[in-house]
Amino acid sequence: MSDTSTVNTESAFKDQKQKMAISARNINVVYATPTGDIPAVRDVDIDLPKGSITGIIGESGSGKSTLIMAIMNAVTKPGKITSGSVILNGENDILQLSSEKQRKIRGKEIGFVFQAAQNSLNPLRRIGQQILDLGRAHEVNDLRELIKYAKRLLIRLGLDADRVLASYQHELSGGMRQRVGIMFSLVLNANIVFLDESTTALDMLSQASVLEIIRELQKEKNLTIAFVSHDIGVIADLSERIEIFYAGEIVEEGKTSEVLASPKHPYTKGLIKAIPKISGDIDAAEPLKGSSPDYRTFKQKGCLFYDRCPIRTNSCQDSRPELNITNRDHKVACFRVGANDRD
């Protein structure tokens, strides 16, 4: 009797795992400095369900880019992953693979679009040549087909494919480079795509069209996307699930519409209030108090948001709140959930 039940839970567990494109557990990353290690990401668990868009929000310096790098096992010195596991498609742990296998996964399985697209393109080679380089590095046999596919993608992205392939990166505008970055992340048929601040440097109209393209391609190819940004507006528009990141920890997560409609963590509430909106009462907008977390914030024993929190009590200083479920898959890390701000 007990045997069958364990088998059942095990198979259920396996099912659950297979639904996840990426399932990261207990990720810890530190940056080594002369004065000691500074934790940048602490005990983060994150799941990216297959075929969904997850948004990760955090201020600059909150460790959101480091988290993405850790998921790809691409943290560079002085950073170091001290613990954790990242299960890809319910099978391999990326953090345990040999560097050669990791290299093959990046590009073929996982695509990545950097924040500053101009820094990730080779300034001395034309875009077309760089696609061929990528193909050779990943042992693609039919390079001609690869170029054809790249052209089709570029046309989808609304670019003049022939012109782009023959251009150097400095001949392209910011929006075009960002689109070229998206093409690079998809050209080897990656199923999982990480986008790091991909629309931050763009104008309103090109931002809207890049978001529209991302949405279309995601539906068409059933991609799993993780979108990292400090702009809550972009994330709220694009993502189905949302992760609020503060000082290296996830403080709230859940379905985007639910988190935005009824935020539970004081940081999330503050963040939503702190953006000027096109609808509603504009005078209700209120800036977030205090300054962004820095290297001193991590030394606090208690809640990391303590010094900026409008609803803190003394006991918040003593221990760190954990991520607890408030409603189905809506989780929040706060002792004072439900307390009134005006107190």
């Binding site: 609304g158 931002q207 507006g233 409609a261 909106k277 096109i278 977030l288």
Partner: protein
Amino acid sequence: MIEIKNLQKFFQIKAKFSNHKTVHAVRNVNLAIPSGGALCLIGESGCGKTTIGRMLCGMENPSSGSIIIDGQDISKLKRGARAKLLQKVQLIHQDPYQALNPTHTIEQMMKATLKKMAKQKKKDADWIRQRMDELLKLVGLDPETILFKYPHMLSGGQRQRVIIARALTVEPEMLIADEVVSMIDVSLRLGILKLLRYLRERHNISILFITHDIASARYLGNDTELYVVYKGMVIERGRTERVIRSPQHPYTQALLSAMPILKGIEKPGKDRFVITSQFRQSEEEPRGCLFADRCPFKQSICDEKRPELVHKDDAYHACFFPKVRQVAAESI
């Protein structure tokens, strides 16, 4: 009071192996900002909104038209008098990371301009010290902890505050805020906008706010006028709230449609549309409407004739087929 009349600006671009090209950056712009008032200019990059700002503070000379500050046309003044008048208009740049000298502390930087002011006003070193503290406190910084610092030790938001404090040392009557928040983290943007609003309400400093983000324009200039600029031409103007709720020009509608929707709080406007074609500076001056090549609603006359800015029910628009479309997000 600051007025701009029929302002135009042409840039000559030297091209190798071919004829010089002329870019018409600003076309017949008229605007007026009363003292203590505000005005928002909206448009995408390359539309000429920054050039208008630069001409207003004397960093660029207009090709034609006039800029009138307190009743005096600045192009007709002698150098000294012009410089003195232009002191009243201060520009705050977009990039707080490049606007400060990295080798000077905040104290050195603030003192440099305050010394000149002290000389003009015949004040002593105590006055400088006092004024410095006062200004830094006004912009929300603690003088004790900030004066000895170098720019690299400050965050983007703090730098922008220092830059505003520096602009205030010469006691300006107007600030030109050119994309002041676009390089700053979203969570800190509102702090800077609130400061500008405070300066306007309490210190009677008028503000020309240049941005591509309509929501921040709505916060800063809720009670003022909004000008939408495309390729150097004002294509729609009106009270901010009116332009957002009932835009008439397709370009304004495209900008409003491009605002991200906050799921769970907002729902998209029912006529929302997305433009995918990109902004391009045309090779030849088009005969027709400047927006015709991207406009989803264009008709044959739009390529033939250029619409002028016309007045209609307390708003202005430059379109042959104006139609109000509900494109802005609404709260649920």
